[in-house]
Amino acid sequence: MTLDETKAGLDAVEEGPHLSEKSMGSSDGKIADPDGHPSVVALLLRFGDSVSGHRVSAGTQHVVWIDSARNLEVLHWLRDDQDHQYDMISDITAVDYGAGRPIDVVYQLFSTVYKRALRIRCELPLDGLEIDSIVELWSAANWLEREVYDLFGVTFRKHPDLRRILMPHDYEEGHPLRKDFPLRGRFSRAEQTRRALDQSVEHSYIAEEMDLGRDPQQAVPIIGTKDGDG
């Protein structure tokens, strides 16, 4: 076996998922039977022009695609309307299908009053990865949106503190969960190791923290690290 063959074999083993020709998972304009779920019926009545798709997944789970420009409005209504009261946001995440397809932002809602779950998805084209933040509705959205921003590069407008959460705040290799991001990162291991260790202590503080407790008269903030002398 030649080296090239070995390498081709390795690549095949490490091959990630690739899309079949058939379109899937997107809002193809179809509306499945909404009768099973009162909130879907109400959404179609009230926001019919913004609902771009609906399907029933995994037997019982209702998924509604809505216009990404009106996500705040729709979610606000779902949270506050007396007949729905989705007061708990279980999860916010995103899905990248690769192959130039739009990235979906997914909201998992649950109503502790009516014990109902609903999934809302918003499609974002790759050249317009922006959507309104819903932190003002649920404070739980804060870190979840930061995570989506970090891993997918979706910008949340009006988010109070949108910076990377899992990767270092100056990570330069991109957004790891995008399908075009290689599993081992874009830089070589040597470069990654060098970059990781080539940092001063101040580097691990964000600008906001450096300003914390800084008196206008005082030039330098007092920084005590655990490993400080003593």
């Binding site: 091959e15 990630g16 998922p17 899309l19 079949s20 058939k22 899937m24 998972g25 399907r55 997944s57 995994a58 037997g59 789970q61 998924v63 007061d87 708990m88 279980s90 999860d91 995440t93 899905v95 990248d96 299908y97 997914v106 998992q108 649950f110 502790t112 014990k115 779950a117 999934r119 649920w138 404070s139 739980a140 804060n142 870190w143 979840l144 995570e147 891993l151 990377r164 959460i165 899992l166 990767m167 270092p168 790891p176 969960l177 991001f181 599993l183 691990s204 503080y205 964000i206 906001e208 923290e209 914390l212 407790g213 008196d215 005082q218 903030p221 007092i222 005590g224 690290t225 655990k226």
Partner: protein, 426 residues
């Protein structure tokens, strides 16, 4: 739904407030104005390598004297990119990743992952498998709560509960090992069943554990519940109201301590949890002490659940009898041509999934644990595998909880949230 309130009210002396309502009296009844000394706030860094952060969490605090003015948590120091790695694995190959995510309750993670895949594929597991998984999950709830109990007790200065808790944990380790061969990284589930059936005599081992564990729990209870130091360190610390807790995404014992009886086992039942007889402990004040009481009661309820599950454990096969999902037995594989082909296809290609997405929440040991899977038509690997991490959402409330508390209370609040960094950072 049955509702259980916390009965203990040790050390709280209610007084009449201004509007006639009952308020808790402060520990120190002095109300002295603070003299203006011209002090300035201080920035200190805790972690990521610090025993009190329960992992590699890093907290940057702004302090005014000893009072926490603001906390900025930094996470990601254990980011192992499970979700990316999962996209390169077939359905069954992902199972070993799940128990490395939450190493405090590995079997719960094994179970919820395959439950999500099965729901997506429409696979109905056998009755025996359901009960075995309930046993696994309830056992690991105790497993996880015991570690939380031990480490939290250390944080408030009590070392003995740690040793007691680990003694009991060691027995669950042995049960894990007898069942799966590993102490922590169990990888016990497979799509459509379990890795293997319960070994002979395993239920007797579990029964022994259930017979003696409540006694140890009572001993720990006696050490902590009415312990004045523990009460002083936890009552009234890090309290949050029910509305705020729901809005912030609190789940699990943290939410129930605020008085909300939300439990996925009751509200979105799976695996016949509605037919088991158990109660949801609910707190009143939403502080660290109530979280402690809720978890202690949850362990007792888990013992009761385990007893019921052992009683109803049916016989029969543990894997679904579908050659496209479950592996054939080794004997069949070696003697029967068709079984060998199925074996080969399953190992090399994997199980094809239908198109769609599926979100499945269960009640994990730390809160609502959900997995979200997106698959393409006939795909043997997920397009997206997402874990709804309960600890991440619970931890994001820490800055709100810790405000205006002392630094030492910050440690207690952080401990009481029961976080595991492997799952926060994923």
């Amino acid at each position: 739904m049955s509702k259980r309130t916390v009965e203990f009210n040790v050390g709280r002396n209610p007084e009449m407030g201004v509007d006639g309502s009952v308020v808790d009296s402060p520990i120190f009844p002095f109300d002295m104005p603070e003299p203006d000394l011209g002090t300035e706030n201080m920035l200190i860094n805790i972690g990521p390598q610090h025993p009190a952060t329960h992992g590699v969490l890093r907290l940057v605090c702004e302090l005014d004297g000893e009072t926490v003015k603001r906390v900025i948590p930094h996470i990601g120091y254990l980011h192992s990119s499970f979700e990316k790695l999962g996209e390169y694995r077939t359905w069954n190959q992902i199972v070993p990743l799940t128990d490395r995510m939450d190493y405090l309750a590995p079997l719960i993670y094994n179970c919820v992952y395959v439950m999500t895949v099965e729901k997506l594929m429409g696979i109905e597991v056998t009755e025996r498998c359901k009960v075995v998984r309930v046993i696994c999950m309830e056992m690991d709830r105790i497993f996880s709560h015991l570690l939380w109990l031990g480490t939290t007790a250390i944080d408030v200065g009590a070392f003995t509960p740690f040793l007691y808790a680990f003694q009991e944990r060691e027995r669950i380790y042995q049960l894990h090992e007898a069942f799966t061969g590993a102490r922590i990284t169990t990888s016990a589930t497979r799509v459509g069943g379990m890795m293997a059936d319960l070994p002979e005599g395993w239920t007797n081992g579990l029964q022994d554990f259930l017979d003696t564990f409540p006694k140890t729990l009572e001993e720990i209870d006696r050490l902590l519940t009415r312990n004045q130091i523990h009460i002083g360190r936890s009552q009234g610390i890090g309290a949050i109201s029910a509305e705020d807790a729901i809005n912030s995404g609190f789940t699990g014992a943290n939410l129930r301590a605020c008085g909300v009886d939300y439990d996925v086992r009751k509200d979105q039942p799976y695996y016949d949890y509605e037919t088991y007889d158990f109660e949801i402990p609910v707190g009143q004040y939403g502080d660290c002490y109530d979280r402690y009481l809720c978890r202690m009661e949850e362990m007792r309820q888990s013992v009761s659940l385990l007893r019921q599950a052992l009683e109803r454990l049916p016989g029969g096969p543990i894997d679904v009898e579908d050659p496209n999902i479950s592996l054939p037995s080794k004997t069949d594989c070696m003697s029967d041509m068709e079984s060998m082909i199925h074996h080969f296809k399953l190992i090399t290609e994997g199980i094809p999934a239908p198109e769609g997405d599926c979100y499945m929440p269960i009640e994990g040991s730390k809160g609502e644990l959900g997995m979200y899977i997106v698959a393409e038509e006939g795909g043997t690997k997920p397009v997206r595998w997402r874990i709804r991490p309960p600890s991440l959402v619970n931890l994001s409330v820490l800055p709100k909880l810790a405000e205006e508390h002392l630094v030492s209370d910050l440690v207690m609040i952080n401990a009481s949230l029961d976080i595991v960094l492997g799952e926060i950072d994923r």
